[in-house]
């Protein structure tokens, strides 16, 4: 018996490192090579070869470029500062105080993060209209929307770490003679600093590459690198100039992402062995005032734009009604298809994109978890879409697949969405694969299971739920995706709901606006519900960030 079993196991090991793992490594690698690496190389080539080094230098030293760059950086820095100002107290309250409804507050604060950019832009447009201040198309509007979006990032990254900090470290400092302020300055703050820096970097990255918000709320005079790439490539068809901007964008973003990844790693080191400690009771007037104030600010910041969006979408003339929603069934003169058709298209694209991302991600995750040089390379490669902005990616497809008629294919949008969603699938499934104890495989093999059976009976049940969660997030991202789509959607067949919102909002007229707001509500609800369902299934192992 033993004599028979030993060769069987050896054979199964040999087989496992053979056929299947070659596919598991090969397919995702090819996918990334064709749909990520090639388009980026095409942008690179276009910017250097197409334009010529002289032109590149000319453009980079022009005053127009400089003002765009400074505005891009300036608005991102201002957004980071404001986001920290609003987000840190919320993170503190949620992490440290024992308050009723903290789960609701936490969920509420995170909602904006999953909302599509066009929906957020529409919400702020509605809010300004409702409150009656003319902030539409202003710097303040951009900042407000960015804060709304990114408070979730600060609350999640910093708050999560803060809550996990052992309070006894602070108590130990106090027992050793440190006043509460000194203990905060000497113990808590140094522990938080790298995490705050990491969160700031992530927020900066999001704001630096922000596209929909700036395009809709900033207006034509407020240009960032992203909107300029879009303007040059889509409206003026000046690919060379767009490519140079994309190159600058790419270099900056990759450098920042690498920095963010390092902070994340340090953070995960710092959070090792963390303990849940008792939260502080609200047993003094000062504490109650502070916590209430922060909670009210959080609710206003998050709820006001969403409430305004819903209210304004229902406003018809001087009263309320559902006519804007009814109009979603009609194709106006401005759109190639009725909004409801665009929405159907978005949902279909989301399903296809999620399926592609899930298939590629499942294979890729198993290859990454197995390790080896190929696996490590794939792991790095799979992070690239996270670091590259959707706009750069969409532009890369324009340039890279120009020769093929691929761009007019209905597949191009869902494939781009799949690329953008892939990191979410991997973030969910790679840890799941890694957490499978190799002794389970050995035990199954010793019980007579062949490699295919082991994958089906041991691996699959353990990775199924994380895979579904990751694919669900990929679908949520796809439904709201605007940056890449705005480069790739051509004609009626690939016109998505976020495109419709953008088109409707960019034209004056109450009726169009109402329609845009109603469609935004529907998109927002779809995505929020999807995220809510996924959040409930999430087992803390899956992180959006």
């Amino acid at each position: 018996m033993d004599r028979n079993r030993a060769p069987l196991i050896q054979q199964s090991n040999a087989e496992r490192s053979g056929g299947f793992s070659r596919i598991a490594l090969g397919v995702p690698t090819l996918f990334l090579a064709v749909f990520v690496v090639w388009p980026l190389l095409a942008v690179l080539a276009r910017s250097l070869v197409g334009a010529g080094v002289g032109d590149v230098l000319d453009q980079l030293t022009s005053s127009g470029f400089r003002s765009v760059l400074w505005f891009t950086i300036g608005q991102a820095l201002a957004s980071v500062a404001l986001t920290l100002l609003v987000g840190l107290p919320i993170a503190h309250v949620l992490a440290r105080y024992d308050i009723k409804g903290s789960t609701v507050l936490r969920a509420l604060v995170v909602v904006p993060f999953v909302l599509p950019t066009v929906v957020v832009a529409a919400a702020f447009s509605a809010l300004f209209n409702r409150v009656g201040i003319d902030l539409d198309r202003s710097f303040a509007a951009i900042l407000a929307a960015h804060v709304f979006f990114n408070v979730a990032v600060v609350v999640r990254i910093v708050g999560g770490f803060w809550g996990g900090l052992d309070r006894r470290e602070t108590e130990a400092a106090m027992v050793l003679g440190a006043s509460p302020m000194t203990a905060f300055r000497r113990i808590t703050l140094p522990r938080l600093a790298p995490v705050i820096a990491g969160a700031s970097l992530v927020v900066f990255l999001f704001c630096f590459t922000s596209f929909g918000v700036i395009l809709i709320l900033g207006g034509p005079t407020r240009a960032t690198l992203e909107t300029e790439i879009h303007r040059f490539a889509v409206f003026r068809q000046e690919f060379d100039s767009a490519a140079i901007l994309a190159l600058v964008q790419l270099i900056t973003v990759v450098a920042l992402s690498a920095g963010a990844a390092r902070f994340q790693r340090r953070q995960s080191l710092a959070s090792r062995g963390r303990v849940r400690t008792a939260k502080l009771p609200l047993n003094s007037a000062a504490r109650r005032t502070y916590v209430s104030l922060v909670a009210v600010v959080a609710i206003v910041v998050v709820v006001a734009p969403m409430a305004a969006l819903v209210e304004q979408s229902l406003r018809v003339g001087d009263g309320f009604g559902l006519s804007h929603y009814a109009n979603l069934l009609e194709r106006g003169p401005l759109l190639p298809v009725a909004p409801i058709t665009a929405l159907g298209r978005s949902v279909m694209f989301a399903v296809v994109a999620a399926a592609i991302a899930a298939a590629v991600g499942l294979l890729g995750a198993s290859a990454i978890a197995r390790g080896g040089r190929g696996g490590r390379l794939l792991e790095i490669g799979a992070l690239v879409p996270l670091g590259v902005s959707a706009v750069t990616l969409g532009f890369g497809y324009l340039v890279g697949f120009a020769a093929l008629d691929f761009r007019s294919s209905i597949w191009i949008v869902p494939i781009a969405h799949a690329v953008i969603g892939l990191p979410f699938v991997l973030a969910a499934t790679v840890p799941a694969f890694r957490s499978i104890d190799s002794r389970l495989h050995e035990a199954a093999a010793s019980l007579g299971a062949d490699p295919a059976t082991i994958r089906r009976r041991v691996d699959w049940p353990l990775v199924r739920t994380p895979l579904l969660t990751g694919a669900g997030f990929a679908a949520a991202v796809s439904i709201g995706e605007f940056g890449a789509t705005s480069f790739l959607a051509r004609g009626r067949s690939s016109f998505t709901a976020p495109m419709a919102v953008f088109r409707l909002l960019s034209q004056p007229g109450q009726l169009l606006r109402g329609q845009a707001l109603a469609l935004s509500v529907v998109i927002g609800l779809t995505v929020a519900l999807l995220a809510l369902v996924l959040e409930r299934r999430r087992r803390d192992s899956v992180s959006l960030l």
């Binding site: 108590e171 130990a172 003679g177 440190a178 509460p180 000194t182 113990i187 303990v275």
Partner: protein
């Protein structure tokens, strides 16, 4: 310095963590508080340290009420369970933290840190990072940190809780020597009666926030105030007394009689464990109560034994 707790109560929502506790600790005395988890012993330490507000009662140190003294002005050393070392500071910075807060000059800090590290047997560890320490080393750094500012009262919360048995025994001995040498008043919390008996002059048994009994280790063993205390300090033979109450029968009160002779007690052997040169025999009497004793020869498991009972050693607890 003398520590005095008078009628101290702490309430957590609907449970009383501490229920009218009165306790007095003399200058230089080492007192251990033992009890099962959740009995309120950690809460008691936190209350004394000023990390937990009282619902009623008062605490005073050296005759001075601590009511309005915040934690950072009490000058009490507290060594936390699992140590709570500052992970972003190295060993020296951890140990000198309390000195720095007390405004000790930098040069003095350095020499005091070296002295403390030497005291706990960690010479040369000053520049180590906290991550690089083993469990035993972290425990010693935590001790050095709480001792460095020369606190008037040292409190230890399960100081050896997370260590393995061999290390515990070694560190218990080290700790006892250190406390005796420094003469610091010490309040020590543990769930392990062996550790408490090894370290303390006086042991307080806490149950559901109330003091069940306080006394020397020998008093608790020989005159437990209740079945709870008897079981907690390690008695296993608790027999119902036909005249009422419970008889606590120490291991040493029972001995096996030569085969063929009649004893005072008959029991069936359920397990035999070889321990430190003798056999610990667990057996049960007809009514199911436990009769454990030590024997040179191991009786067969499942067989019946005749035991002699030394009535003088039996402790009767009339309930």
């Amino acid at each position: 310095m003398t520590l005095e707790l008078a009628d101290v109560s702490v309430r957590f929502s609907d449970t009383l963590a501490l229920d009218s506790v009165d306790l007095s600790i003399a200058d230089g005395e080492t007192v251990a508080i033992i009890g099962p988890s959740g009995c309120g012993k950690s809460t008691l330490l936190r209350a004394v340290a000023g990390l937990q507000a009282l619902d009623s009662g008062s605490i005073s140190l050296a005759g001075r009420s601590l009511a309005d003294v915040p934690a950072h002005e009490r000058g009490i050393g507290l060594m936390f369970q699992d140590h709570a070392l500052f992970p972003h500071l190295d060993v020296a910075a951890n140990v000198s933290f309390g000195l720095e807060m007390g405004g000790v000059a930098a040069k003095e800090q350095a020499s005091r840190v070296a002295e403390m590290l030497s005291l706990v047997g960690l010479d040369g560890f000053a520049d180590r990072s906290i991550d690089a320490l083993s469990g035993g080393e972290a425990q010693r750094v935590a001790l050095a940190r709480s001792l460095a500012p020369a606190p008037s009262l040292l409190m230890l919360d399960e100081p050896l809780g997370s260590l393995d048995r061999v290390l515990r025994e070694q560190l218990t001995a080290d700790l006892r020597a250190l406390i005796r040498e420094l003469g610091t008043t010490t309040l020590h919390v543990t769930h392990d009666q062996t550790e408490a008996f090894a370290l303390a002059d006086r042991v307080v048994v806490l149950r559901d926030g109330r003091i069940e009994q306080a006394g020397s280790p020998s008093e608790l063993w020989h005159r437990p105030a209740s079945v709870f205390v008897a079981e907690f300090v390690g008695h296993t033979n608790l027999w119902p007394n036909p005249m009422g109450g419970t008889d606590v029968v120490p291991l040493t009160a029972l001995s096996i009689v030569d085969s063929g002779q009649a004893g005072d007690v008959e029991a069936t052997v359920t397990a035999v464990t070889f321990r430190e040169g003798r056999h610990l025999v667990e057996s049960r009497r007809a009514d199911g109560s436990m009769a454990s004793f030590e024997a040179d020869e191991a009786p067969p498991v499942g067989g019946s034994v005749q035991l002699r009972l030394d009535q003088a050693k039996v402790i009767n607890l009339s309930t």
